[in-house]
């Protein structure tokens, strides 16, 4: 009896799910809407939980599930804008954004994005885009993951021994701050050279547009450890920078590679913004260093997945793509 009723359910479910197949006009393939909103939501949950953009998870997930690499990268760029907007706005209302600093980062970031999008096009035509993206994710996520894991394990051990971890003093200067062209950033209480600021922006703009990530997980440590931006300014400034830079990158991708799929991006945005709220709520039950430890493991897992893809003998050494006009 149960067998029959279940069968009926499966038939109805399958038929109704098939109706939710959505045709992506730029990727030129049809994908299940539930699947897209689902991975958007799952990644949104994690991004809300850990306070990161989630591009570094979403782009690989789309690539692994068959969306062409170029479409995945360009469309996730649009999703990152949506994912960071509400966070940036709420930090701005609380006065947690240093607009002056963000402006320098955005201008250099957009310059970097020009380079990134141009490199993206060259690599795609040369057939090395997937390889460079894999290497890029492996190196970036691998190194950031290891650093984060070290730091959080140390913090967890000290917490267990009952030692209070002292925050680094924000006003300590490094040699970078003494370079020429000093500028005063009032909100961050910094009087430092703009050269390291511009270099960070340039690098993140380049890497972000090439890999389809917001770069928050590189930006935050860079602001904290290299520029010594005070803690209450770091997240807001980084988010504001991500919104502006990724918005510019989306437009650049739309013009240059024409591979931004607005329907794909929108499905991911809807899932992502909803998931992020639940993630943020869930995050309140975990301690900071536990969260960072988990995030580090996640980042490392993605890095290892890319690493294995590079090293393991592929199922099929042959691949094909369309060049010129269509994607």
């Amino acid at each position: 009896m149960t067998d029959h009723s279940l069968e009926w359910l499966a038939v109805i479910f399958e038929r109704d799910l098939r109706i939710l197949q959505i045709y992506l006009p730029i990727a030129e393939l049809s994908v299940n809407l539930f699947f897209l909103v689902g991975i958007g939501g799952a990644v949104g949950f994690l991004s809300g939980l850990f306070g990161v953009g989630g591009g570094f998870l979403l782009t690989p997930l789309l690539i692994f599930s068959g969306v062409p690499t170029s479409v995945a990268v360009a469309s996730v760029t649009g999703q990152v804008v949506a994912a960071s907007t509400s966070g940036a706005l709420s930090h701005y209302r609380r006065g947690g954004v240093d607009l002056h600093l963000a402006m320098y980062l955005v201008i250099s970031g957009i310059l970097g994005a020009f380079g990134g999008v141009a490199a993206f096009d060259l690599l795609r035509d040369a057939g090395q885009l997937d390889f460079v993206i894999s290497i890029g994710f492996l190196v970036l996520l691998g190194s950031v993951g290891i650093l984060m894991l070290q730091e959080s394990v140390r913090a967890l051990l000290k917490h267990r021994q009952g030692i209070v971890v002292r925050e680094r003093l924000p006003n300590q200067h490094t040699w970078m701050h003494g370079l020429p062209m000093r500028v005063r950033f009032k909100k961050s209480r910094l009087y430092i050279s703009v050269l390291p600021v511009l270099a960070i922006g340039l690098f993140i703009g380049f890497v972000g547009s090439l890999l389809g990530i917001g770069g928050g997980f590189i930006m935050v440590p860079a602001l904290v450890y290299l520029l010594r931006v005070p803690g209450n300014m770091v997240i807001g400034t980084s988010l504001a920078q991500v919104v502006a830079m990724m918005a510019a990158t989306t437009i650049l991708h739309a013009i240059q590679s024409q591979s931004v799929d607005i329907l794909l991006a929108f499905s991911l945005m809807v899932g992502g913004t909803a998931g992020a709220q639940f993630g943020a709520a869930a995050g309140k039950h975990l301690r900071g260093e536990q969260l960072r430890g988990l995030l580090a493991l996640l980042v490392l897992a993605v890095a290892i997945r890319f690493g294995l893809g590079l090293v393991l003998t592929p199922d099929d050494p042959f691949s094909m793509t369309v060049i010129g006009g269509a994607r």
């Binding site: 098939r18 804008v81 706005l89 989306t250 739309a254 929108f266 042959f318 094909m320 060049i323």
Partner: protein, 253 residues
Amino acid sequence: MRRWLAFLVVLLLAATPARAERLISSLSNDTIEITSSFDGERMTFYGSIAPDAGSDQRYVQGPFQVVIAIVGPTQDRVAREKTRILGMWLNTDQVTFKGFPSYLHVLASARLRDITDVTTLTTNKILPEAYALSPNTSGWWQTMVFGRELIRLMSEERLFGVQENGVNFLSDTFYSAQLTLPSNAPPGPYIAQTYVFKNGEIIARKSEGFAVRKIGFERFLAQSATQYPLAYGFACVVLALATGWLGGVLFRR
């Protein structure tokens, strides 16, 4: 001289009845429209073999075999091969095939090798392999190796295929064939070439065109993305900002 004349007469006599059949054929769809719920589409090819208009023949003598080759819009396609360098796999070799069909399905009423010989199949571009033989700067050996792999990859994507039981004869002269265009069928003009074989020779052929195209919202989006990329990019950004802002407002309050 008389021997030559006799030979010519024999030739003429032999040539006239060979073209005595014609093909009357049609297909179920002129256009296939890609909408947001596009999940592939089934179409039917059908036709009948009849005596030629000018001949005084009353009926046609079989057995006939029918082969239909459905060819999609051409593209420039690259086949690439990964090799291991310093322990990592990366694309090292590639061959470009210019004007390669984005879709090719061959439907036949019997096994192709029973219908005719390989030369006829190749020169009429019925076999998928015929498209991978085009002259290429990479040299014939590379072209052959990569062409085979490209056809295999296309077959795995369901874009290429040979169905040797794809055409059914409902009577001695009337046939029908069904084809399901997959959801990844590339938009553009398609040509369905129908060949009628008798004793291994092509005795009639006909080609029909149909179009796969995006309509409505999908067409609008795809067109704006290529024709107004700047406006399209801005629209994406505005959509993203609005969604992000709305999400924050809806959930946080």
